[in-house]
């Protein structure tokens, strides 16, 4: 189970996050909270499913969209989401999540949440194997 520290009136609180199960054809909506100060800005919000490793985050699927951030005279927190389409490009198993703001050179990168996404195996197409008469009676 993943968890994330969020600011609150009491300082930072640890919010536990449950695992989520997805399968090909689903979308995973990832909601992020970020802090910002300064002029209004437009930046890509990017999130990826993959595996955190010693060499970094090995992305398998990702989603991104441009967010328009308003001008903030002081540090303010905002929330925004991005969807990742789950395709057959990802195999069944447990995966990690991370998000970032910015393009090639990210402005901020979130901590990775480990093993929070379980990708289920694709359910096969409808198929009939055999049939046999099991009973017969007068009605």
């Amino acid at each position: 189970m993943g968890a994330v520290y969020l600011p609150s009136q009491f300082g930072f609180v640890l919010v536990p996050l449950a695992n989520v199960q997805v399968k090909p054809g689903d979308k995973l909506r990832i909601t992020c909270q970020y802090s910002h100060i300064g002029q209004a800005d437009g930046q890509p919000l990017y999130a990826a499913i993959g595996n955190e490793g010693w060499a970094g985050f090995d992305e398998v699927l990702h989603g991104s969209k441009t967010i328009n951030v308003p001008e903030d005279a002081t540090w303010n927190y905002h929330e925004e989401y991005v969807d990742i389409a789950i395709t057959t490009a990802i195999s069944a198993g447990f995966y990690d999540l991370y998000a970032k703001i910015g393009g090639t050179f990210p402005k901020v990168i979130s901590p990775s949440l480990l093993d929070v996404v379980e990708v289920l195996a694709e359910i096969p197409e409808s198929e009939f194997g055999e049939i046999s008469i099991t009973d017969y009676a007068k009605v």
Partner: protein, 128 residues
């Protein structure tokens, strides 16, 4: 020293961001004992010539003796610190406007903070 149309105050912010609308108020007191016509004028000094004017929604008014009238105006902040020059005029018995008083006030250019992101955290994720 004003004879009749005494500029009491220019109300304006201490600073403003480039391109933003700056609203100001020029308060002018009628020092005469009875009602006279008072007119306001204004210009911005920041190194360009001629000095750009200030738009006032109402540039003149009949002001009763001893009263103070507020004239509202605005301008768009250029990319430099500016000095507001406000002028007052009174309507004379000869049927002409007469210059009477002047006051200045500066408005600094507000420092704009570059966009900066401090942190990001995933707070939820759900299947759609």
């Amino acid at each position: 020293m004003a004879q009749y149309a005494d500029i009491v105050e220019i109300v304006a912010p201490g600073d403003a961001a480039v391109g933003s609308r700056v609203d100001i108020t020029v308060r002018i007191k009628n020092k005469y004992s009875s009602t006279i016509g008072i007119m306001v004028g204004g210009a911005l000094e920041y190194g360009v010539s001629p000095w750009p004017g200030i738009s006032f929604s109402e540039s003149s008014a009949n002001v009763t003796g001893g009263a103070t009238h507020s004239f509202s105006g605005y301008f768009n902040m250029p990319d430099k610190r500016i000095t507001i020059h406000a002028y007052s005029y009174y309507y004379g018995s000869d049927g002409s406007w007469h210059f009477d008083d002047e006051m200045t006030r500066t408005v600094d250019l507000a420092e704009e903070i570059e966009s900066e992101f401090g942190s990001i955290a995933i707070i939820s994720y759900q299947r759609r």
